[in-house]
C-alpha cells in the first residue's frame, strides 16, 4: 500500500499541475474598475460588457467594484488601488488643477450633465423661475450646490432666493418624501426611481442641469502613469465598454438581467428605465458623429473653465492634460 500511495500522490500532483496550465496560458490582464457610487441601473453597460464576454474577448479580467463618490474614486486611482475609474470629469479637473493629481478622461459617459432637480408635481415647478423662494434638498459636499449659481444665471434667476437643506446622501429620499423641501437633487436617470417612490404623492417634475449647462459629467478616468504603462489595455477596455453600452442600449431587458446577476436587489423595471436615460446622455451630437465616448474640445474647455471658476481655483490646466480621444475606438 505504501508504495502505491507515493505514485498516487505524485499523479495527483501532476494532474493538478496540468489542470492549472490552461489558466496560466490564457492569462488575462486584471483591470480594477471602480464606479462612482453604489451600483445602479445606470451602470448596466459595464456589466453588459462583463457578462457578454466583451472584456474577456479583449483579454481583460475586469473587476468592477462600487465607488464612494468622486473624491474617493480619484483617490483610489491616484493611489493605485484602482486602475480605471468611472467618475465626474469635473472632479478630475479640480484634482489636477489644485493638487496636481495626474488623472485624465479617456471617454465620456454623461456627455450631458445629468444632475436634475426633482419636485413633487403638486408644487407646479416647471421652470427655473419657479424655483425662487423654494427649498432644495441635497447632500453635503454635493457639486450640485456649487453648480447651482451657474444654473441660476443661465435661467436668469436669483440663486440666493433658493434655500438648501443639506442631509446625508442616503437620507435625501426620505427627507424629500417627508416634504421637508420642495425639490431634491439626483441624476436625471433616477427619474424612474423617484416616480416609483413618489407614486402615492403624485409623481415628480424634473429640471435637468444639462439642458442649461454644456458641461461634461462622468467619464472613464485613468492616471497618466497607468495610461503610459498600459495604453493598449486602456484602449481595449474602452472599446469593450462602449460595445457593452451600445449593446445595452439596443437590448435593455437582457442587459438589466445581466446587471441583476451581481446585483439582485435592483429593481428590473427601474434599472431598464435608467439605461434608457443614460442612452440619452451618452448619445450626444458629438458621440453620434464620432462614436460613443467622444469628447468635444469646446465643451471640454467650457467644462474646465466653469469648474475652475466655480471653485475659485487660480491655477489652470491644459486641455490635453484632462482628456484625450486617442483611446476611443476609431469610428467607422
Amino acid at each position: 500500500m505504501k508504495r502505491y500511495t507515493n505514485i498516487l500522490g505524485l499523479s495527483l500532483a501532476f494532474g493538478l499541475f496540468l489542470s492549472a496550465l490552461p489558466a496560466v496560458a490564457a492569462e488575462k490582464t486584471t483591470v480594477n474598475f471602480v464606479l462612482d457610487w453604489i451600483v445602479g441601473g445606470r451602470h448596466t453597460g459595464w456589466f453588459t460588457a462583463l457578462h457578454k464576454g466583451y472584456y474577456a474577448e479583449e483579454g481583460l479580467d475586469v473587476k468592477i467594484s462600487r465607488g464612494y463618490g468622486s473624491s474617493g474614486g480619484i483617490q483610489r486611482l491616484a493611489s493605485g488601488q484602482a486602475d480605471v475609474g468611472f467618475n465626474d470629469i469635473a472632479s478630475a479637473i479640480l484634482a489636477r488643477a489644485k493638487d496636481g493629481v495626474p488623472v485624465k478622461a479617456v471617454a465620456v459617459s454623461y456627455a450631458k450633465h445629468p444632475s436634475a432637480i426633482f419636485t413633487l408635481k403638486k408644487y407646479n415647478i416647471k421652470t427655473l423661475k419657479d424655483l425662487e423662494g423654494k427649498t432644495l434638498i441635497d447632500s453635503a459636499g454635493s457639486t450640485n450646490i456649487s453648480l447651482f449659481p451657474i444654473l441660476a444665471k443661465a435661467g436668469n434667476i436669483d440663486a440666493s432666493k433658493v434655500k438648501w437643506v443639506v442631509v446625508a446622501p442616503d437620507a435625501k429620499m426620505q427627507v424629500f418624501k417627508a416634504e421637508k423641501g420642495h425639490g431634491v437633487l439626483f441624476y436625471n436617470m433616477q427619474l424612474p426611481m423617484l416616480e416609483d417612490a413618489t407614486r402615492d404623492q403624485g409623481g415628480v417634475d424634473m429640471i435637468v442641469f444639462g439642458d442649461y449647462l454644456p458641461l461634461y459629467s462622468n467619464g472613464v478616468l485613468v492616471t497618466d502613469g497607468y495610461l503610459a504603462k498600459n495604453p493598449d489595455v486602456v484602449r481595449r477596455f474602452v472599446r469593450a465598454s462602449m460595445k457593452g453600452w451600445a449593446y445595452a442600449f439596443q437590448n435593455p431587458d437582457e442587459a438589466v438581467t445581466l446587471l441583476r446577476k451581481d446585483n439582485p436587489l435592483l429593481d428590473a423595471k427601474v434599472a431598464k428605465a435608467e439605461v434608457l436615460f443614460v442612452k440619452e446622455l451618452m448619445e450626444s451630437p458629438e458621440a453620434k458623429k464620432h462614436g460613443l465616448g467622444y469628447m468635444d474640445e469646446a465643451k471640454m474647455r467650457e467644462t474646465r473653465d466653469t469648474t475652475l471658476r466655480l471653485f475659485d481655483v487660480n491655477k489652470t490646466v491644459d486641455l490635453k492634460d484632462i482628456y484625450t480621444n486617442d483611446f476611443l475606438p476609431k469610428s467607422n
Binding site: 453604489i38 467594484s65 493611489s79 488601488q81 442616503d170 426620505q174 418624501k177 426611481m193 436587489l265
Partner: protein
Amino acid sequence: MLRRVTRILRLYGPPAAAILAVIFAWHAVTAWFGVPGWLLPSPQAVIASAYEHRDLLPKHTSVTLIETLLGLAVSLVVGVPLAIVVVWSPFLRRSVYPLILALQSVPKVALAPLFLIWVGYGMPSKVLIVASVAFFPIVVDTATGLAIVERDLLDMVRVLRASTLQTFLKIRIPSAMPYFFSGTKVAVTLAVIGAVVGEFVGSDVGLGYLILVSGSQLNTAMVFVSLVILSLMGAILFEMVEALQRITCPWSVGE
C-alpha cells in the same frame, strides 16, 4: 419532566413574550395608523423581503460576522495586555491612558475613511474599525478589575510572602475576570456597530452595505431585515460571552 418544562418557561417565557409584544405593537402601528411602507414597513413586509432575498443574506451576514469577530479578537489581543500594562506600571498608566481616551473620543465615523485610505477597502480596514470601537471598554473594565482588588486579599498574600507575579496571576487576574467579561459584553455590541459603520463608509459586501443599497432604493423593508439580523447577531454574541462568564466565574453572573 414538569420541573424541566417550568424551568424552560421561566427562563425563556419572559423574553419570548416581550419580543412577541413588540412585534404585535409594531404590526398594530403599521396596520392601524396607515404608516407608509417606505417609512415603517410592517412585520409581514420585512419577513417577505427576507424570504425574497434569502439567498443574499448568508453571504452578507457572514461577512459582517467575521469582521465583528476578528475585530473583537484584535481588540482583546491589544486591549487585555494594555490593561495589564497600565495597572502594572503607574508611569505607563499616566502616559498611555490619555492617548487611549483621546482615541475613544474621536467619532469612529470620522476615523473610518482615514482607515480606508491607509489600509485599503478590504477586510483589514473593517477589522481595524471594529477593533478601534471595541477595545476601549475592554481596556477600561479590565484595568479597573485588575486594580480593584480587596485590600484584605492583598494584605493576606503579602503576609504569605507572595511575589508580585504570583499576586498578579493568582489574585488580581481572577478578581478581574468579572470586570473583563463586563467590558467584553459591552465591546461585543459595539463591535457589531463598528462593523456596520465600516461597511457604510467603505464596503461592497456585508449587512451595512445591504442597508445602504436598500435604503438608497427606499426598500425600507430590506433595511429592517438587515437591522433585525444585526440585533440578533449582537444579542447572540452577548449571550455567548455571558455563557463563557458563567463557566469561568459563575459567582459573578446574576440569576
